[in-house]
């Protein structure tokens, strides 16, 4: 569904993405893992067209995304730090997004808004929100339009245990519907029961892209966190 081919990106002298190629298919749940500053968010932003890569190309449903913009209708994106217009209320932001993205055949999925109990906060201004509530808004917006692809950048960072459980349940439910889900996270323990594939990045390079079963077999570790730790140690001593 999404194919990235030899993506290179430099910010000044810093090579943020170095020949990254990834193929993502429907029904997969891919974890993007790597140390801080390894280029995960930049890679995601490249997929969304928010960052234009220096060389290489990305296709979405075998169409180059470079001059396309409609493909984003199929993507729900939850940013790492949700930034919203300060003087709009939650309700206004959600209504605006509905207004911009609405189409007749679209079925809105307001489950998360209900489950996060955002209904009661609809009149609150965005600037008064706590980091966690902001995350809830971002998550609700990402799932709202029932997109075929979900890109979640650190989805559970800042969420309380109850809310992050709600979000995880939602991700599992969407995965079961055959959607492509891309997650970056540093809390590996919570990825265990979600992901089917792991992409490991370091210093802008893609180190490996494996099915989780393969990774478990290679490292002999059952837990994802232990398996990744084993890989990190190995790459350190190479």
């Amino acid at each position: 569904m999404i194919i990235a081919n030899n993506i290179n990106k430099k910010f000044g002298k810093l090579q943020v993405l170095d020949n990254v190629s990834v193929t993502c298919n429907k029904g997969e749940c891919i974890a993007l893992i790597g140390p801080n500053g390894s280029g995960k968010t930049t890679f995601i932003k490249c997929m969304l067209g928010m960052v234009v890569c220096d060389s290489g190309f990305i296709t979405f449903n075998s169409k180059n995304i470079l001059h396309d913009w409609q493909y984003r209708a199929n993507i729900g994106y939850m940013p790492q730090i949700g930034r919203y217009p300060d003087n709009m209320s939650i309700g206004q932001v959600i209504d605006m997004m509905k207004d911009i993205r609405s189409s007749k055949q679209l079925q809105l999925d307001e489950e998360l808004i209900r489950q996060f109990e955002l209904d009661e906060l609809m009149d609150k201004r965005m600037r008064t929100l706590s980091g966690g509530t902001r995350q809830k808004v971002s998550a609700s917006l990402a799932f709202l339009f029932n997109p075929g692809v979900l890109i979640l950048d650190e989805p559970t960072a800042g969420l309380d245990p109850v809310s992050s459980e709600i979000l995880k349940e939602k991700i599992i439910a969407e995965k079961a519907k055959g959607k492509l889900i891309l997650i970056t996270s540093h809390i590996l323990s919570e990825l265990d029961d979600l992901v089917t594939q792991v992409v490991y990045m370091q210093e802008g390079k893609l180190i490996f892209h494996k099915k989780i079963e393969e990774l478990r077999a290679d490292t002999g570790q059952e837990k994802l966190s232990k398996a990744i730790a084993a890989v990190m140690l190995k790459t350190k001593y190479l």
Partner: protein, 255 residues
């Protein structure tokens, strides 16, 4: 596109600066027209305000607004929208609300007190200047990432167009005083929309007789229908070129 323009305008109207600016212009123009004994003199006084305050408010307000809506732009860019649409909607929203404010504040009083070619020229010049400086501010805001530097640059740009450029022109005039500079002056004014608008309005006032020989050359060139068309075309170019450049820049901007 309409939807985004709507949200931009709603947002601009919600912050009260535009309203205050409108009331300020309205109070100013009404008091000038009531103080001056002839309304033609009123238009002349208003001209100086239009040429200094209107560009300043347009350029500053636009720059600050664009920097403050970084979040809004970021949110929109990740949605299924063309970047060009987002940027041009922002431009249209800002330009139309500032033009509306100018029109209510100065356009309406001018029409009430001095409904003439001069008045019309003043209003047209003001509207064009508003849009020109919105376009310039948007170009500066998209080029410069840092907010403080961006606003500083915008203030310098305004200073350049309203003060420094004239100084530069005087300098050139004195340096080349021995040469016939009258025709060259016509070309030089093209590089400053404020000067161009000033000449456009002044020539309609028939005070060009006081501007000496250069004034006569100006009258010969700008006073004709072809000259007026050229002036308007150049002013529209001052809108189109910065707007086009900023769209191009925004298309490649990293957010």
């Amino acid at each position: 596109m309409k939807k985004i323009i709507k949200y931009v305008i709603i947002d601009i109207l919600r912050n009260k600066i535009i309203l205050a600016f409108t009331l300020f212009l309205l109070a100013l123009s009404l008091s000038i027209f009531n103080l001056e004994d002839s309304s033609a003199k009123g238009v002349l006084s208003l001209l100086n305000i239009v040429l200094i305050i209107v560009p300043m408010v347009s350029i500053l307000f636009t720059a600050i607004y664009v920097y403050n809506s970084a979040e809004f732009l970021e949110l929109l860019v990740s949605q299924p929208l063309k970047r060009k649409t987002i940027w041009l909607s922002m431009f249209t929203g800002l330009a139309s609300s500032l033009v509306l404010s100018f029109f209510i504040g100065i356009g309406v009083p001018v029409m009430l007190y001095e409904f003439s070619a001069t008045g019309a020229a003043l209003v047209v010049a003001g509207i064009l200047l508003t849009v020109i400086f919105v376009a310039i501010a948007m170009l500066a805001a998209v080029k410069i990432r840092d907010k403080a530097r961006g606003i500083g640059a915008v203030i310098l740009l305004w200073l350049y167009f309203s003060l420094l450029f004239d100084g530069l022109v005087l300098f050139i005039l004195f340096q080349f005083a021995d040469y016939p500079m009258e025709k060259a002056m016509v070309v030089i004014t093209v590089f400053n929309p404020i000067d161009l608008s000033r000449i456009m309005v002044l020539l309609k006032m028939d005070v060009s007789a006081m501007m000496g020989y250069t004034g006569a050359v100006f009258k010969n060139f700008f006073g004709t229908a072809a000259g007026l068309c050229t002036t308007l075309l150049v002013l529209v170019g001052w809108i189109a070129v910065p707007a086009w450049l900023s769209v191009r820049k925004f298309n490649r901007k990293e957010l």
